[in-house]
Subunit: 418 residues, 2 copies
C-alpha cells in the first residue's frame, strides 16, 4: 500500500441484530482482504433502519477510506443500503438498463419474482456495476469525497462469490507491495501456551510479524511479511517458519490448511492409502468432515455409524458379550471398531471412536470420556480421552474427531501415534 487504506465493513440487516444469522460476510471479506494486504479496521452491523444506518455511514466516512457494505440490497428491505449510501454521498439512483433488462429476462423463465425485485436495477449514478451471477441483486462501487464505497448483497453465497469475482480485481489499484501470510496450525497445545513460548520474540518483531490465534479445538500461529514483491515476502518468512516448526515440532500439523483432516488428505494422497471409519459418539461427523473436502472420495472408502450396541453387532460383527462385559464405551470396543471396519471395507487404515458426548451419561463414565482408535494391518492403537463434563456435546464430538485425524497424521508421518 502506498498509504494504509483503512477499511470498514458495514453489514445491514435486522436479522443479524436479532441473532438469526451470523455475520459470515464480514468474516469472509476480512479474510480475503487480509490476503491482499488491505487493513480491515472495523466491522459494524446495523438494522434495516434508515436513520441508524445513516448515522453509521457518517461514522464510517470519518474513520475509514474504504466502506464495504453487505446486505440491505434485496427487495425485502426496499434497497435501503443503496438509498442511504447514495444520499450520504450526494448521488442519485438511476436505472441501469442492462440490469433492468436482465431482471426482465429472469421473469420470462417463469421463476418466482415479485414486482419489488425491479428496484434492484436502480443504482448510484456513475457507479461501477457488479453483475450478480449468483442471485438477482447487483452490487456496485463508486468513489466520492476521497472515499471508496462498495456495496454487495447479503446472502453469503452471493456476497462471497461477487467479492472474489468483482471486488478483488477492483481493489487491486489500492495495492502496492505485497503482504504474504502463512498459518501454522497446531494441535495439542493451547493458544496461551503458544503465546507464552513466542511472546518475547513476537514483541521484538515488526516485519515479518507473528501472532497466535485460538480456534475451537486447536490453534494457529500466523506469520506475515510485507515486501515489494510476493517472492521477497516469502523469502522473509522462510526462516521464521523454520524456527516455529523447530520449536513446536510435532505439534504443527500443517501450514495453510483449515483443519487436521485437510492435512491428512494430503498425506493419504502421498502414501496412496485409504481409510474407513466406525463411529459411535461422533455419529457420522468424522466421515462428514472428511467428505466435505473436494476429492475426498479417493481416500475414504466409507464408514459405518454404529450408534447403538445393536448396530455395532449387526454392521461390524462385534460380539454383544464383549460389549456387555466391557461396556460400549471401552478400550476393547474402540479397538474392535477400528480393526473390524478396516477389514470390512478393505482399507489400509481403520479408525474408531466410542464415547460419551453428553449431555446424558451412562452411569459409568464421566461425559467427555472418549476412546479413539486407529488400526493398520500391523498394529492397533487406542487412546483414552477425558475432555471434562463441562464441555458441550458439539465440542466433544469435534475434539474426538480431531484426535482421530491427528492420530492418522502421526501414523502417516512416522511419528508416535499416541
Amino acid at each position: 500500500m502506498s498509504k494504509a487504506y483503512d477499511t470498514e465493513i458495514l453489514s445491514v440487516g435486522t436479522e443479524l441484530l436479532l441473532g438469526h444469522v451470523t455475520n459470515t460476510d464480514a468474516r469472509d471479506i476480512s479474510e480475503m482482504l487480509s490476503k491482499i494486504g488491505v487493513n480491515v479496521r472495523y466491522h459494524t452491523v446495523v438494522g434495516d433502519n434508515p436513520q441508524r444506518l445513516e448515522d453509521c455511514v457518517k461514522v464510517a466516512k470519518e474513520r475509514a477510506d474504504i466502506i464495504i457494505t453487505t446486505g440491505g440490497l434485496g427487495p425485502t428491505c426496499d434497497d435501503l443500503t443503496k438509498q442511504i449510501l447514495a444520499r450520504a454521498f450526494g448521488l442519485e439512483l438511476v436505472r441501469n438498463e442492462a440490469e433492468y433488462q436482465g431482471l426482465y429476462e429472469y421473469i420470462q423463465t417463469g421463476r418466482m419474482f415479485t414486482p419489488n425485485n425491479f428496484q434492484q436495477a436502480m443504482l448510484p449514478e456513475g457507479c461501477t456495476v457488479f453483475h450478480n451471477e449468483w442471485g438477482t441483486a447487483p452490487g456496485c462501487a463508486f468513489e466520492k469525497d476521497g472515499k471508496t464505497v462498495i456495496m454487495l448483497p447479503g446472502p453469503p453465497k452471493e456476497c462471497n462469490a461477487m467479492f472474489r469475482a468483482c471486488v478483488i480485481p477492483y481493489l487491486q489499484k489500492f495495492a502496492d507491495g505485497e503482504i504474504v501470510s502463512h498459518s501454522l496450525r497446531i494441535f495439542g497445545l493451547g493458544e496461551s501456551t503458544v503465546d507464552q513460548m513466542f511472546r518475547d520474540e513476537m514483541n521484538a518483531m515488526t516485519n515479518p510479524s507473528m501472532a497466535p490465534y485460538a480456534k475451537e479445538c486447536d490453534c494457529l500461529l500466523q506469520v506475515t511479511a510485507k515486501a515489494e514483491t510476493r517472492e521477497e515476502a516469502e523469502e522473509m518468512l522462510k526462516p521464521v517458519i523454520a524456527h516455529v516448526r523447530e520449536k513446536l515440532g510435532e505439534f504443527v500439523y500443517g501450514m495453510d490448511v483449515e483443519c487436521v483432516e485437510e492435512a491428512v488428505i494430503g498425506l493419504l494422497r502421498e502414501k496412496h492409502m485409504r481409510f474407513s471409519a466406525a463411529e459411535s459418539c461422533t455419529g457420522g461427523d468424522i466421515a462428514g468432515r472428511f467428505t466435505e473436502i473436494p476429492g475426498a472420495s479417493e481416500f475414504f472408502l466409507g464408514g459405518v455409524v454404529t450408534y447403538t450396541n445393536e448396530a455395532k453387532a449387526r454392521l461390524l460383527g462385534i460380539d454383544p458379550a464383549l460389549i456387555e462385559e466391557k461396556g460400549a464405551v471401552s478400550f476393547e470396543v474402540a479397538k474392535e471398531m477400528a480393526e473390524r471396519v478396516r477389514t470390512l471395507m478393505g482399507s489400509d487404515i481403520g479408525v474408531g471412536v466410542t464415547g460419551l458426548a453428553g449431555p446424558d451419561g451412562d452411569g459409568v463414565h464421566e461425559v467427555g470420556t472418549v476412546f479413539v482408535s486407529l488400526a493398520t494391518a500391523e498394529q492397533t492403537w487406542v487412546k483414552e480421552l477425558h475432555m471434562g463434563a463441562f464441555r458441550t456435546r458439539s465440542f466433544i464430538r469435534r475434539m474426538a474427531g480431531n484426535h482421530v485425524y491427528d492420530m492418522m497424521r502421526r501414523y502417516l508421518t512416522g511419528l508416535n501415534v499416541l
Copy 2:
C-alpha cells in the same frame, strides 16, 4: 421495557478483523437479548488497538444505553478491553481478591498457566464480578454516567455460558413487560415468496408483528408480541400463528425448532419409530446432523457411508451390475440404498442419498443432481433434485439432507412424501 434500552455489542479482537474467526458471540448474545426484549441496535468489531477501541467506546457511549463487550480480556491481549473501558468511564482497575485467589489455586492443579494470567484478577472498582466457571478470565458489569457496561471473555463457549448464567439475571431489572417471539420454520418456499405473500399484512401490523428471514437452505417467519405478561403475549400470538399455518400449510415444518431434523426427532418420538441412513454424496452428514441433537440415539439406529461403489456393494449388498448399468447416481441405486439399509439395520424407516456434490462431475449428470429416497415396509419413494451446478459442495450436501429430513417429516405427518 419502561424505556427502550439501546444496546451495542462491541467485540474486540484482531482475529475477527483478519477473518480468522466468525463473530458468533455477537450473534449468540443478540439472540438471547431479543428473547428478553432488549433491543440490540449495533454490533461493532475492532482490533486489539487501544486508540481505535477507545474511539469505538466513545461512539458506543453516545448511541447506546447498554454496552456489552466481548473479547480482549485474556492474557494474550493484556486485558485491553478492561483497561480502555475503565478509563473511558473514569474507573480504576483494582485487584479482586476472590478472583486472584481462584487463579492462584488454579496454578496449584499443575495446569498450564503463565504469569500474565494474573492480570485477569484486576477489575474495575465497584463492579459486579461474573466468575468464569468455563475458563479463567472473569467478566464484570458496572453502571456509570447513565450507561451500563458489561464485559465478557471472547471464547464463544465462555461468553455464551456466562451470558446465560450471569448477564441475563443481571439485565432482568431493565425489563418490564414481556416480549414473546416464535419462529415458524419453512421449507420449500423462498424468503422473497414468503415476504410477498405476507407483505401487506406485515406492513399493517405493529404489535404483534411478523417478519421473514432467510436461512441457508430454508427460511422462517418470526412472530413477536409484547404485553404485560408472557401469557398475554402468547394469547396475542395465537391467531397470528394459526393464520400463518393455514396460509403456508405443509410448508411449515415446525415452530421454534432450529432445523428440519429437530422437527423429525419429535415426530419419531411421537410415533415410536427409528430410522437408519445410507449416504453417498452427503458422506455422513445426515447421520452427523441428526446425532448432534441430544437424545438422538433413541431414534437413529445407525447408518452406512457408502462413498464408493465398492462400499455400496460390500456394506449394502447392492449388485455391482446394477450400479454399472444405471450409474451410482441414479433413481434405482437411491431406491436400493434406502431399502437395503432399512432391512440391514432393522429400522422402521430407511433413507438414502446419492448424487453429485461437486466440484467434479461424473460426465453424465450436472453437479447438483441428487437422488434422495425413503423406504418403509410398505413403500419406497425417490425424489430427483437438481440444485444447479453453481451451488457449493457444502450447500448441495446440506440441501440434500434437508430434503431427506423433509421427506421423513412428510411421511411421519401423513402428507404426500414427494
